[in-house]
């Protein structure tokens, strides 16, 4: 299998170019030890050639362990006999930034006798501003072919395949090394001189960018813009995804209604309706959120705004060991932890990405809302203050939301300070890319690939856990009484664990099943108390809980427990895939369970004093 490597520095348009050159025929893999995916796909028009997209890096001199892995893999790939060609992408509008890295790549390729072609991207931006670079002189200076392209408009892309084909068929003489053995210091000086001599003259692009920055980074206008854009992002996860999520649930229910009556055996009917279709629905329902969030984040990134948003919220988050890049993943986590964990890919520092992973599951996600609503309705009085302006229940809801966010920040702050030197880190030097109009097609393609990744990687785990919990709740009495099922017995077995919180086996079972998704807690309690459709109408269940022997102190303890505990198999599944660590999700589950339990116990003890 013939391979062509694509490499380039961040913000040079590499992902867009890769999507353009490979279409939808992409496969995503990963290097052990790093979180960045390595995508490969058939080069369009050349079915026997695979284009391999390497992670964007500023230099072949790595400074973090993650960069070291990526660079080592690049060097290993150069030694691979299947690799026939290397495409090095540069940003033609900012030659200075790209040329040093390009010279490093050429030097490495000379060592392995691999031909390099430099792709000068964003040539359309230069033309639109009456700017140019001296391509023939650049080719002569670096002894390498330079093709002018625009990944956004598609200009020059056909020539890339033609050039690779011509290089393959030509009887290629061994490349004469020009840079072999040249130290980085010399390459840096050469890059600087070439950029000054051959790069675009004038600073019209920088001035345009600076005018927009004066608005978007201004204390007042920038603040308004930031809150407006983040509000839209948050709304997109909820509002734009909801119709598609509802449609998925309705479609699955419709198919199940059609199929189940055709099945003879009652056990198989129950299995198909409650395990099979629930299991599929359990992960398919997240797909619209992941698709929409990936698309919107892509819009923000490609437009150049994401870097500005990062800058705006960097300072307050830094105090808690995080970075400005942690903000969007954490905000997404308020809707759902899963798209939030995907969004954490943007955090380039491994240390801060890990801390962001730790913060996301503590964000008050939408799955917690039904649990909070049930417990608050059951235990917090509906009285109001200040002539009806402030209600105790509303205050309690605000308080528990705030508690989750505050806990997240305290935990990351403490862990960050406790393990100061044990993580791998990168300095906060953020390149502010120019503002651009994003291309919609590549973003849609990217969102599709991300949704596919979720279904393939996390779907299996979520489906399996759903099946296991169904089996435990269904047998041995074939679903007639949850209390007498294996799950019910398990609930009684762990009753002593929850007794110090004033909870009996029924709540233990509901906590166990809520591991599927937190909102399942409400439905399970409804089943145990014999109330149909408790998720849709909580009032009868609220009355049952109020009339049971559960105290206010236990209700408050449950609220605190759910605010902290990592009760979500889907989050754990995607966390282990994204962090490339099977143990991280388990460690976090254990740590947050202990923390949730201790906090709930303290709340219970204090509340019982009153």
């Amino acid at each position: 299998m013939t391979k062509v490597l694509l490499i380039g520095s961040p913000n040079s348009g590499k992902s867009m170019l890769f999507n353009r050159l490979t279409g939808l025929s992409q496969k995503v893999a990963n290097f052990p030890g790093i979180t960045v995916d390595v995508a490969s796909g058939k080069l369009q028009g050349m079915d026997d050639v695979y284009l391999v997209d390497f992670p964007g890096t500023y230099s072949l001199k790595a400074i973090s362990a993650e960069e070291k892995v990526a660079v080592a893999q690049f060097e290993k790939a150069l030694a691979d006999a299947d690799v026939e060609h290397v495409l090095c992408l540069i940003d033609a509008t900012r030659l200075e930034k790209s040329l040093f890295f390009t010279l490093q790549v050429i030097r490495e390729c000379e060592l392995h006798d691999k031909p390099v072609t430099v792709l000068a991207n964003m040539i359309d931006v230069l033309e639109a501003n009456n700017l140019s670079i001296d391509l023939p002189a650049l080719e002569a200076a670096i002894h390498t072919r330079v093709l002018p392209i625009s990944a956004r408009s598609g200009k020059g892309l056909a020539e890339i395949s033609e050039h690779i084909r011509a290089t393959r068929t030509a009887d290629r003489p061994r490349q004469r090394p020009h840079l072999t053995g040249t130290p980085d210091e010399i390459l840096r000086g050469t890059a600087h001189q070439l950029a000054q001599r051959l790069g675009p003259r004038g600073d019209v692009l920088v001035r345009t960018q600076n005018r927009l920055d004066a608005f978007f980074l201004h204390s007042l206008t920038g603040g308004f813009a930031f809150f407006g854009i983040m509000y839209l992002l948050f709304q997109s996860i909820f509002t734009w995804s909801t119709p598609a999520m509802d449609a998925i649930e309705a479609s699955l229910a419709w198919i199940a209604d059609g199929i189940v009556p055709l099945i003879g055996s009652q056990v198989l009917q129950d299995f198909t309706a409650d395990a099979l279709f629930s299991g599929i629905g359990a992960f398919l329902v997240f797909v619209p959120q992941i698709f929409v969030l990936t698309f919107v984040i892509g819009l923000l990134e490609d437009s150049g705004y994401m870097a500005r948003a990062t800058l705006i919220c960097h300072k307050p988050l830094r105090y808690f060991g995080l970075t400005g890049k942690s903000f969007v993943p954490m905000l997404s986590g308020v809707a759902c932890a899963i798209p939030g964990i995907y969004a954490a890919r943007a955090v380039d520092s491994p240390r801060k990405r890990l801390l962001t992973y730790m913060a996301i599951p503590l964000m008050p996600c939408s799955a917690r809302l039904p649990v909070y609503a049930l417990l608050i309705a059951a235990f917090i009085p509906g009285d109001t203050l200040l002539g009806g302006l402030v209600g105790w229940q509303g205050l309690a809801m605000f308080g528990i939301y705030f508690f989750g966010m505050l806990t997240a920040l305290i935990i990351t702050g403490v862990v960050s300070r406790a393990r100061k030197d044990q993580f791998d880190d990168l300095p906060f030097v953020l390149e502010l890319p120019p503002y651009r109009l994003p291309g919609v097609k590549p973003l849609l393609r990217n969102a599709f690939n991300r949704a596919k990744h979720f279904v393939v990687k996390a779907g299996k785990i979520i489906f399996t856990v759903t099946l296991v919990i169904w089996v435990l709740g269904y047998f041995p009495n074939f679903g007639t009484d949850l209390g007498q099922s294996w799950l019910g017995h398990l609930g009684r077995l762990i009753e002593p664990l929850f007794a110090p919180l004033g909870l009996d086996w029924r709540y233990g079972v509901a906590i166990l099943t809520s591991f599927l998704a937190r909102e399942v807690f409400v439905g399970t309690l409804g089943t145990i108390f014999g109330i149909e459709g408790a998720e849709e109408n909580m009032v009868p269940l609220v009355e049952q809980i109020q009339n049971s022997d559960l105290t206010v102190a236990s209700g408050l303890a449950l609220l605190v427990f759910f605010a902290i505990a990592l009760q979500c198999v889907s989050t754990m599944a995607i966390l282990s895939k994204e962090a490339r660590s099977g143990t991280l999700a388990l460690k976090m589950f254990g740590a947050y369970f202990v923390l949730a339990y201790v906090a709930a116990f303290l709340v219970y003890q204090v509340a019982t004093l009153f």
């Binding site: 400074i63 790069g199 980074l217 906060f428 390149e431």
Partner: protein, 88 residues
């Protein structure tokens, strides 16, 4: 890595206000070697002219121009880059 600037100490990049220019003089000893290398790869090497384009409020990272590229640096890094005046 945050440090307190004593009186008479060399000027740092973080002290630049919006619209001011300077030339990089070097790095102080507190900055890790790997960070120095990365900053030089970005174009922040001694002698290079740098402008401060934006200085957002509330201590947010400042925005600097080096050649035709714009970077944002926070005080933890910019306070370790020593600069000298290049005149108006």
């Amino acid at each position: 890595m945050k440090k307190t600037q004593p009186p008479g100490a060399p000027k740092t990049l973080w002290s630049l206000r919006r619209g001011e220019h300077c030339a990089i003089a070097g790095y102080d000893d507190l900055l890790a070697e790997a960070y120095k290398v990365r900053l030089m790869e970005f174009g922040f090497y001694p002698g290079e002219r740098v402008s401060c384009l934006q200085s957002p409020g509330f201590g947010a990272p400042k925005v600097y121009r080096v050649n035709n590229t714009i970077y944002s640096l926070d005080d933890e890094i910019a306070d370790h880059i020593l600069v000298e005046s290049t005149g108006p």
